[in-house]
């Protein structure tokens, strides 16, 4: 255990970023004793993100997500109905809230958000820390803190392929993962949106071959690729010395990422045994259909495939890749952004609703909170699919879920909106709920826990501790929710 413990301390330093740490990127993370990794199943951590709030404007029903009953064997509301029997592996945590500036005399409080909604919940929700702006995250997110601790790759995927509004840009709504870079700044991690590229990156390493000619060719290809990267890395390093200060920062980032890729390549090469099997090739990526809008008769074009780029298939492929990358121990952390903050993904192909995800909360179709719940249920369907894959994969005396903590988080709750000074609003971080799956670290799933007044980051801390996080604090939020451990 000593090796692992030493790794923890270095990685925690990096992850929390209290000081500039001169370790080359990722080296600490990959410095895991392989014998140890094989002898005990690795712990794994994941965040699954749904970019919408839980209820609709003006509806007195805050959500159709939180069960009526408290404790085990809870009743399934429509938003989480796709869980079905999987509910025994999932706890629902209700009563959560993020404090706002307006309740603190206009200043954003510790772990709180700005009053203006949309994306202002990001920093407290995912990193436990208040932010100076709506779209910036002011600390590393939980998945990246855990990536530094658990090692291997960190998968950062987004299902919603595009922003789908022509004039504006996503401006930060497309990111849910942040880390500290080698100059100690908190920087976004650009999500990957191509299942095809990820399949190639993760599983293109040829398996060990018996044919000596093929084996020699594969070995040569591997060495040639390494030589090419080494040349590029060396020349990038040489260039650094010739640049001014501003350029050096930019080019250093580039160099860090080349080095990280080299380490990922050196660390990968799954063994095709047991639960690790190369998954099916997802094939060409679903095509991008462009922005939503209106047709020449003024009707909206949700039913013409605009604002949709095969997210149904993309979600399925990414779930398959995350499952197998973890089964093969290529990755131990993942964040899957199903939809962007304030998501404008068309719901037409997903739920039959002729509007986009964001407008569900603002009365884009009739049905109020029940209509919003249909949108959430689409996300939960894929969440359930992923959990089923982990559950069906044997590990030790049980299955992969025994060594995992998986958090399901939404952008907002429903209730008072301090920005618009309204009640029963979707621009609210009152009455928030989350889900937590997995049995790592004594987690006891399958219950509804009312954590009245607790912060979403308290759920993150609970999940992080279950897979080896030694601290009781994420960002500015401390404490866990002990009932989730039964």
């Amino acid at each position: 255990m000593k090796t692992l413990f030493r790794l923890h301390r270095r990685a925690v330093l990096k992850g929390l970023g209290g000081a500039v740490v001169g370790l080359p990127l990722l080296e600490a993370m990959l410095d895991v004793n392989p014998a140890l990794a094989q002898s005990a199943a690795a712990k794994r951590y994941m965040v699954f993100f749904d970019g919408q709030s839980m209820g609709a404007d003006g509806d007195t029903l805050h959500n159709d997500f939180v069960p009526d009953t408290v404790g085990p064997d809870y009743d399934l509301k429509s938003a989480v109905a796709p869980l079905g029997a999987m509910k025994s592996e999932v706890s629902i945590i209700s009563g959560l809230r993020i404090p706002t500036a307006s309740e603190n005399g206009g200043t954003v409080p510790s772990g709180g958000r700005r009053d203006a909604f949309h994306v202002s919940s990001m920093s407290p929700l995912l990193a436990g820390v208040r932010s100076p702006s709506n779209t910036a995250c002011a600390g590393p997110t939980s998945d990246q803190v855990m990536a530094a601790l658990l090692g291997k790759q960190s998968l950062v995927y987004r299902v919603q392929a595009d922003w789908y509004l022509s004039v504006a840009e996503p401006a930060g709504r497309d990111v849910i993962s942040f880390k500290r870079d080698s100059s100690n700044r908190v920087v976004p991690i650009i999500s990957k949106i191509s299942p095809q590229q990820e399949f190639n990156a993760l599983f293109s390493q040829p398996p060990s071959m018996t044919d000596p000619v093929a084996a020699a060719k594969a070995d040569r290809e591997r060495r040639a690729r390494a030589s090419v990267l080494d040349l590029v890395k060396g020349d990038t390093q040489r260039l650094l010395g010739k640049l001014g200060a501003g350029d050096r920062v930019r080019m250093q980032r580039h160099l860090d990422e080349i080095r990280a890729l080299e380490l990922r390549i050196a660390a990968s090469g799954p063994t095709q045994t047991g639960i690790c099997q190369t998954p099916g090739d997802p094939g060409p990526d679903p095509s991008s259909s462009g922005n939503q809008g209106t047709d020449s008769s003024g009707s909206n074009t949700y039913n013409q495939n605009l604002g949709y780029s095969g997210e149904e298939e993309r979600a399925r492929h990414f779930c398959d890749l995350i499952h197998m990358a973890m089964a093969c121990d290529l990755a131990r952390t993942a964040s899957l952004q199903m939809t962007m903050f304030q998501s404008h993904l068309s719901m037409y192909n997903l739920t039959g609703q002729a509007t986009d995800c964001h407008e569900l909360g603002h009365g884009g179709v009739s049905g109020g909170t029940m209509a919003v719940s249909k949108g959430i249920a689409w996300h939960v369907k894929h969440f359930t699919y992923l959990l089923q894959k982990f559950k069906d994969t044997p590990e030790g005396n049980g299955n992969m879920l025994d060594n995992m903590a998986i958090v399901y988080a939404l952008e907002g709750g429903h209730g008072h909106d301090p920005g618009g000074a309204k009640d029963n609003s979707s621009h609210s971080t009152e009455n928030m709920a989350m889900m937590l799956a997995g049995r790592a670290g004594g987690l006891k799933p399958g219950q509804h826990v009312v954590a009245q007044g607790k912060h979403p980051a308290n759920v993150l801390v609970t999940a992080m501790k279950a897979v080896g996080y030694a601290s009781d604090t994420l960002g500015e939020v401390s404490g866990d929710i002990s009932q989730l451990r039964g």
Partner: protein, 498 residues
């Protein structure tokens, strides 16, 4: 005073154009593989760029695929390997390849040490008993090399001004070709650099003439206008989007390349290039049954680019036009003013409401007369209301959508320009007002500066921009002359490091 410049990554569109020019690779695969860059409104702001794992991995994939494609095609391969190898280890032939292809890809000659490092990859060719294995690996390495991915400007430091550098001839060639083509310099321009022909204004102007005579220059300047005026992507079905973009591109080409008269004709043109679909869209008669033609607007209240559907599509919100967003568009894009973001307690996610009226003008005026919304909205919404007769596809309408009892007057006004509060009506009125305004003239030049330099201007750049604007005005606003004045200006040959 020279402007700052930093290492600047090629945009995805620039990478695709460069791969097409270098390798004959027309797959446009950078746009499919690489993460999108921030767009505000241009896609080449180097201060907003940063490398990510997603970038590095997709660049490796791009380089590998492009190298494989280039070698799979006999014609393309022949263009890359200018000699017949005598065997897999033919170092002389490989060295020639590295030097010739390297100069094109890096946009400068390689140093001896650089060549040697690429030559080391030939061991894999020998091992594989295949010369082309070495060529493939060299290409793979060059295409993910910082000297290709980034425009790196080093130059020669000026002893008397620390931090300021004189660009090399090759760096100047790269600036010219990326500005005017959005692509890598052709061989003749690299030869010009080698022969010191870009060292003075006359040589630069001659090179610009040659660059502007190429169709790539048209595509590049069409793209400048499409990004600046927000129609590079449109929220309409493909047929309408394509027709609108073609209409705007045709006018840009006509004013900049065919007529070569006053640039403001772009905003004053009394005719437009439409197909039958678009003619019906605008209510114009006389369109050809197939193809497109120039048709006069006649009595229709339209004139120039601002009355085209592509530009009028900007700023839609809440399933309708947004007078506020259109006001922001006019102020930021056409007048280069900065608009402060809404206060942290503003709700910008719901359309304004009025207790007494469904009419948009009443709903917005209720909104703009209250609290801390007032000062900003009073400077924005009246501009947008001047364009309200055009819906979010640029079609004419007399009343609010689905509200026949809410007629649209089309009266707008703009404040903050010399002359106080200036009233206007419709897209024609706005175009007349703007083309009479020195602020608009300066903003055109400012946007071109941002596009060329890959960043927003700094205070230190204002004198240069003003000098260019003065020249633009005094030379009857001929756009190609502006382009030439820009790049042949003495300060353009220098950079200040960041």
């Amino acid at each position: 005073m020279p402007g700052q410049s930093g290492v600047r990554r090629l945009s995805r569109v620039e990478l695709d154009t460069a791969l097409s020019d270098l390798l004959g690779d027309t797959s446009n695969s950078a746009q499919g593989l690489l993460p999108p860059e921030p767009v505000n409104p241009f896609d080449n702001d180097y201060r907003a760029q940063f490398a990510s794992a997603a970038l590095i991995e997709s660049v490796e994939r791009l380089a590998t695929d492009a190298a494989n494609r280039a070698l799979a095609n006999a014609t393309l391969r022949a263009a890359l390997v200018p000699c017949s190898p005598k065997g897999p280890g033919d170092a002389s032939c490989m060295r020639t390849m590295v030097q010739t292809v390297g100069r094109r890809v890096f946009r400068r000659p390689l140093t001896g040490e650089e060549v040697d490092r690429f030559m080391a990859l030939q061991t894999f060719a020998v091992e594989d008993n295949n010369f082309d294995t070495g060529v493939r690996l060299v290409l793979q390495a060059m295409l993910q090399h910082p000297a290709f991915l980034y425009r790196v400007e080093l130059g020669t430091p000026l002893a008397e001004r620390p931090g300021t550098f004189k660009l090399s001839n090759y760096e100047m060639a790269t600036r010219l070709s990326f500005f005017l083509w959005g692509s890598t310099p052709p061989d003749w321009l690299l030869d010009d650099a080698a022969n010191d022909k870009l060292a003075d204004a006359a040589g630069i102007r001659a090179a610009v003439d040659q660059l502007l005579a190429d169709p790539r220059a048209k595509r590049r300047l069409e793209r400048f206008h499409a990004l600046w005026l927000a129609y590079a992507k449109l929220p309409h079905p493909a047929a309408l989007t394509n027709a609108l973009q073609a209409e705007s591109a045709a006018l840009v080409d006509k004013v900049l390349f065919t007529d070569r008269g006053d640039y403001f004709e772009l905003f004053r043109s009394s005719e437009t290039y439409v197909n039958s679909t678009l003619a019906a869209h605008y209510g114009m008669l006389g369109a050809p049954a197939s193809g497109s033609a120039w048709l006069p607007y006649g009595p229709l209240p339209r004139m120039g680019l601002l009355s085209q559907g592509a530009v009028l599509s900007a700023g839609a919100k809440f399933s309708d036009t947004s007078p506020t967003q259109r006001g922001i568009f006019v102020r930021t894009r056409l007048l280069c003013q900065d608009i402060a973001p809404p206060p942290s307690n503003a709700n910008v996610d719901e359309p304004p409401t009025s207790p007494s009226s469904n009419c948009k003008v009443d709903r917005y005026s209720a909104h703009a007369s209250t609290g801390n919304c007032k000062s900003c909205h009073q400077s924005l919404d009246p501009i947008g209301f001047g364009l309200e007769n055009f819906d979010r596809e640029g079609k004419y309408r007399a009343h609010d959508d689905n509200e026949p009892n809410c007629p649209i007057s089309g009266d707008g006004k703009i404040t903050g320009l010399p002359g106080g509060e200036l009233p206007f009506r419709g897209a024609v009125g706005l175009a007349n007002l703007l083309t009479a305004s020195p602020e608009f003239e300066q903003c055109v030049v400012t946007q071109l500066y941002r596009f060329n330099m890959g960043r927003k201007e700094d205070p230190a750049d204002l004198a240069f921009i003003s000098a260019l604007t003065e020249g633009f005005r005094s030379q009857r606003r001929e756009f190609q002359t502006l382009l030439k004045d820009f790049v042949s200006h003495p300060t353009f040959a220098y950079r200040v490091e960041e």
